[in-house]
Each structure stands twice: as structure tokens, then as C-alpha cells.
Amino acid sequence: MATNTTQGTQVPSKGGFPAFRVETYGSQLLWLAIAFGLLYFVMARFIAPRIGGILEDRATRISGDLAAAQAMKAEADAATLSYEKALAEARASSQAIAAETRAKITAEADAERKALEAKLAADLAAAEAQIGSARAAAMGNVRSIAVETAEAIVERLAGTGADAARLEAAVDAVLKR
């Protein structure tokens, strides 16, 4: 340090505070101008644009992401809304279908029941007719049997043949009772 100073150009003016030695000002000003000029150049040309750019990129990215998030949220809201609407529609239509089905089933059952009743009525009528004819036939048989029996009884009791016409009339009178 000491040897350096003695070799230096400031040796003659050793006295006084270093900061107030005017003869050093030229050198300091020159090198300050060069160094600070360089710093300003690098700052204005490279550093400030780069960091400013990074910050701006980030700001636009963040606001872009936020906008995207907002849009997606709006989309989700719309989807929820349409989902709820579809759900309500489906519920309504399912109710309609149920009502329709119920009506249809009721109608079908009604028709079936009516057909069944008609069939039953027809069957009943047929059966009644059959019974009627069977009864008529049976009645016919009874008459002839009664006439014959009466003829036989009269013959056995009277020993003579009875008048057929009178016999039949008598049987018919009894049968009519």
C-alpha cells in the first residue's frame, strides 16, 4: 500500500483529505463517466427490457389464466344450468310417460275385462240355451214315457187298450201342472 502510494502521482499532494484533492477529480470523473455510461447502456439495452419483459409476460400470463379460469367457470355454470334443465325436462317427461303408461294399461285392462265379460255372457247364454233344449228334450221324453206308462197301467188294470188320444191329453194336463 505504502510503496504504491509513494510511486503514485498523488505523492506531491499527500496533504489533505483524499476526497478534497482536486487533482484526482479528472481521473475519477473520466472513469465514472465510462463506467456509469457502460452501466446505463447495459441497463437500458438489456437489463430493464428483459426484467420488464419477464414481469409483463407473467402479468399477461396470470391475467390470461385468470380469464381462462373465469371462462371455464362460466362454462361449468352453463353446463350445470343445462344439466339441471335437462334433469327437470327428463323428470317431467318421465312423469308424462308414467301417466301415459298408466292410462294405457288401464285402458287395456278395461278392454280385456269387457271382452271377458262379453265372452262370459255369451257362454252363459249358450249354456242356458243348451240347458233349455236339454230340458225340452227331457220333457219330451218324459211325456212319451208317461203316455206309454199310462197306457201300460190302463191295460193292466182295465185289461183293454185305452184310447190313446185321451191318454195323451191326460198326461199333458198333468205335465202342465
Binding site: 483529505f17 477529480y25 475519477q28 472513469w31 463506467a35 446505463y40
Partner: protein, 249 residues
Amino acid sequence: MADPIKQFELVPIVPITIGTGDFSFTNSALHMFIIVGLTAAFLLLTTSGRRLVPTRMQSLAELTYEFVAGTVRQTAGTDGMKFFPLVFSLFMFVLLANLVGMFPGAFTVTSHIIVTAALAMLVISTVIIYGIWKHGTHWFALFAPSGLPKVILPLIVVIEVISFISRPISLSLRLFGNMTAGHIALKVFAGFVTAMAGAGALGFIGAALPIFMITALTALEFLVAVLQAYVFTILTCIYLNDALHPGHH
């Protein structure tokens, strides 16, 4: 070591003489380039990735940028951002000059009045030249506050002019004074410590107090180094505001 003034001595490294003037490349010049190199390295290397999600160092660089940009916007308005490279350069230069000077054996560029005065004059010249270029003669309304009685107006104008001239003086003296005084105090206490320690066993005990003092002083000096850079920056912004918006007082 004993001489606390020694640290301010300029030592030529490459003697250069132009005409009769001495323009030697000195330890001061070397430290100026170290400051510029450190600034560029810090701000360029950490941001070379241009990461959207910053690394720790990149976010430190961004934080520094945002801090200065915020100061400029808050003090000089959004149109003050056209001076941002100048203000950021000044901030980084003063901050690193102050901090680099804290290292033992390092030279404090800002402990020389001519350097702080040159930086202050740079600011004031920018204010004057830009103010006149932008606002013409209206810029001189800066010296005549409105709403004053005509009687005292001339006095106020004179005082305003002196006040304007006092700005670069205040700007440069504050920085120079703080850096010089702090470093002298540090060196004086360091001298105490070595002197005490050299005085034997009793001296070691006696050195304890100065060591404590030197630790506290060093912490204070770091604080002062950062604060002075900030004060220089915010005053620069206040003065630049006058160039941009004269009459906004």
C-alpha cells in the same frame, strides 16, 4: 491500518496522463468497473432463464427491479418510467458502491465527493434539460409557486432558486458524508481493537468492547449503505418529478 484516512486514498494502477491532466486508472476506477460488472452479472445472469416461475435469484432480481420501479411510479408517476433505466442504474451503482466498500481492503467509490457530486449533477442536468425541452419556459414556473402575495414573490423565487441549487449539494453531500463518516468510524474502532489486542492479556479483555462496537457499527453501516442508496434514488425521483410535472407542488 492505524490511519483511518488511508482507505480513501486513490492508488493509480495504470498511470495515464493526457496533456497535463492525470487520468490514471486507479483503484477507484477498478471498483467502479467491479460495481458495473456485479450489477450486470446479478441482473442478467439471474434472469437469463426468463422463467415464468422465477428461481430464488431471479425473484431477487425481479424484486429489486419492482422496488425501484415502484418508487419511480409512486414518486414521479407512470410517465416517470421513461427515466427508469437512469434511476435503476443510479440505485444499483450507489447501492453496490456502498456495499462493496464494506469489504475490508475494498475502496468505497461513493466516499469521494466528486463521484457523488457527478451523480447528483447528472440527475439535476437531466431534470433541467428534460424540463426545458419538454415544457419550454413554462418549466421555470417551478420557481414561482402560485398563490403567493406579489410582495414576497421575488424573495420566494430567489429562495426557490437557491433551494434548487442546494439539491445536488444535498444529494451529493449526504451520500458522501454518510459513507465517509461511517467508514472512518469503522476504521477507528478497528484500530482500537488491534491496538488493544497488541497490548497483551489485559488488552484482549479491553478489546471485547470495541469488537462489540465494531459489530454493531458494521450492521449499522450496512443499513446506512442500503438506506443511502434508497434515499438517493427517492430524491432522484422527486427531482425528476419536477422535470415531468413542474408546478405540482
